[in-house]
Symmetry: C2
Subunit: 149 residues, 2 copies
DNA sequence: GCTTGACCTTCCAGCCATGGAAAGGTTTAG
DNA sequence: CTAAACCTTTCCATGGCTGGAAGGTCAAGC
């Protein structure tokens, strides 16, 4: 199985497979006599694991840990859970940051006439951040349905 | 006013001021005889505008547009509003992506015993994405209080 | 004057995960 | 035999910074 086949089968581009190999996320592939990388089903399996992890936003470093736990038959599920929870916390921080930006901008947009006149509260706020809009204390977003326990 | 003073006064690091100059976001600063960059209050004012825009997540390209509108006394507020609205849409896309990751992970975490045993639904899902968890239809998050009109 | 330390200058490299292109070798079908 | 579809390595670019190295400038204190 050449790299292109492994790429199609796993959903990881050939480029990224080579990259993952170069940074040590996956072991060096065996080579044919002519130097082509050769892959087996187990390799594709691992690549799919990586792909799915990336889709869930894990960094290469985190995936490295996850792969270690995956391979370790005597792992403790608590270790996996901790990695996942830390990642969730990270995602939530990023969500909160973006949400605060969006909220502030939404407030400003709502105040902007959006017509042919030059007066614009959005520019005014960028120029000199107003107190009311900026200083809103950080409100917790309501938990989304899926995250409720 | 040297670059360090401008940095302190604006909240933009000296490094970034040079960077913004190099990419054409701000005009080249005037120089002293010895080659030091020299800044006036108007420059600091502009840097603060940039800082605030970055804090709201605008890209350098978008800030370039915003600065143009800011300078243009005959701008239409509708133009500013459109830029802001597009940016809000972008923020919301990113939030939704992250939120979906967090939701999926939260579901998995909730299913994981988190004990000394190796069985782990999180790893199981990474290995072979389960249908129930992955295929949840995209649910709209409720609007946060600030974004309600 | 001379030293010291806080400035300033430019240039270069790295981060992260990825895409692209160049320049060449290999394999396979027709 | 040839064409096209592979594969290989290497370098470059992205965005928005941060850091460092090597060197010039300036102000205060001796």
């Amino acid at each position: 199985m050449n790299i292109g086949d492994a790429a199609r089968a796993s959903g990881v581009s050939a480029k990224m497979i080579r990259y993952y190999e170069s940074v040590g996320l996956i072991p060096s592939a065996t080579r044919t006599d002519s130097g082509y990388r050769s892959y087996a089903d187990a390799d594709v399996h691992r690549l799919r694991f990586i792909r799915r992890s990336r889709d869930l936003g894990f960094s290469v470093t985190e995936i490295h840990n996850l792969l270690g736990l995956w391979r370790d038959r005597s792992r403790k599920s608590a270790d996996v859970k901790r990695v996942a929870q830390q990642h969730i916390a990270d995602l939530r921080r990023r969500i909160d940051d973006l949400q605060q930006m969006a909220d502030t901008l939404q407030t400003l947009v709502a105040c902007c006439a959006g017509n042919d006149r030059p007066d614009c509260p959005i520019l005014a706020n960028l120029e000199r951040p107003g107190h009311a809009v900026t200083a809103t204390r950080k409100k917790r977003r309501p938990r989304s349905p899926l995250t409720q326990r």
